[in-house]
């Protein structure tokens, strides 16, 4: 598990669950550019363990196929813990990945390779929701 912080505002806590190192570097950089505070997990089990430890996130991005535990498997377990508010985003280049994610309770699916233009509005939506919840 690794935490990364962007300079300046870091109000959105993002968890990136991705086993491929190159993908982790690119996606975490996109999240940092969008001023997120980024935590990295290498597979679904690490992500589940973070929630079991009581860690809180505003958004979680899951790759689909990972060793030990897949993204969809992790979403099932995390939702079963009662984590219904956190935005869960499936990210994959695989065919049928959208169905695999949405059928287990993901909020969104974004195809890989992810572009900043795709993630920007999603992060903005999370920011807006967080501000509304604080009012």
């Amino acid at each position: 598990m690794m935490e990364l912080k962007a300079k300046g505002s870091t109000s959105i806590k993002a968890l990136l669950v991705e086993d491929i190192e190159v993908c982790r570097l690119v996606l975490s950089t996109i999240l940092l550019r969008l001023h997120c505070e980024v935590t990295l997990a290498m597979n679904g089990k690490e992500a589940v363990d973070l929630f079991l430890e009581g860690k809180k996130f505003d958004i979680v991005l899951f790759d689909k196929n990972m060793p030990i535990m897949t993204g969809p498997e992790a979403i099932v377990k995390i939702r079963a813990m009662g984590e219904t508010d956190v935005k869960m985003v499936g990210v994959s280049a695989d065919d049928h990945a959208m169905e695999a994610f949405m059928s287990v309770g993901a909020d969104l699916f974004v195809p890989k390779p992810m572009r900043m233009e795709a993630l920007g509005p999603i992060i903005q939506e999370v920011i807006n929701k967080k501000k509304n919840d604080m009012v």
């Binding site: 491929i20 190192e21 190159v22 570097l25 950089t29 550019r33 280049a93 390779p113 572009r115 900043m116």
Partner: protein, 136 residues
């Protein structure tokens, strides 16, 4: 970098757009990571192909990683060949996997050479803001 002869797609441009003052060598770092990881994956694929009984599940997992990291830098030819390899795995076609691996290795070698030349040229010409557009 203009996608050269179809080796790199617009994802490479996305990496360049992510590069800024806070990470001035971001593109080169990502590419370096890919070039560090990919030979290991290709070697693991080759070793796994040589084993008996065939482990198509492991082959698919390895090429999935290679496809994912290649896609992240815009390596379109490698990505496409990985898809061909995965299809051969799905069909349990070992000979197809062998042929595809040879193609992947050739594509990788060419891509590595082009990327290394590109970054060497970048270091010689200096930062982009000092470049002169000769077409103006």
């Amino acid at each position: 970098m203009v996608p050269e002869m179809g080796y790199l797609d617009e994802q490479f441009n996305q990496l360049e757009e992510l590069q800024d003052e806070s990470s001035p060598n971001f593109v080169e770092e990502v590419v370096a990571l890919f070039l560090k990881d990919s030979p290991r994956l290709l070697s693991n694929i080759e070793q796994t192909i040589g084993k008996y009984p065939q482990d198509f599940y492991r082959l698919d997992s390895l090429v999935h990683q290679l496809k994912g990291s290649g896609s992240s830098i815009g390596a379109v030819r490698m990505k496409n060949e990985c898809s061909v390899f995965k299809a051969h795995c799905n069909d349990r076609n070992l000979e197809g996997c062998r042929r595809s691996l040879q193609k992947m290795k050739r594509e990788h070698a060419t891509l590595k050479q082009k990327l290394e030349s590109y970054f060497q040229l970048l270091r010689q010409v200096g930062p982009r803001e000092h470049a002169v557009n000769s077409r103006k």
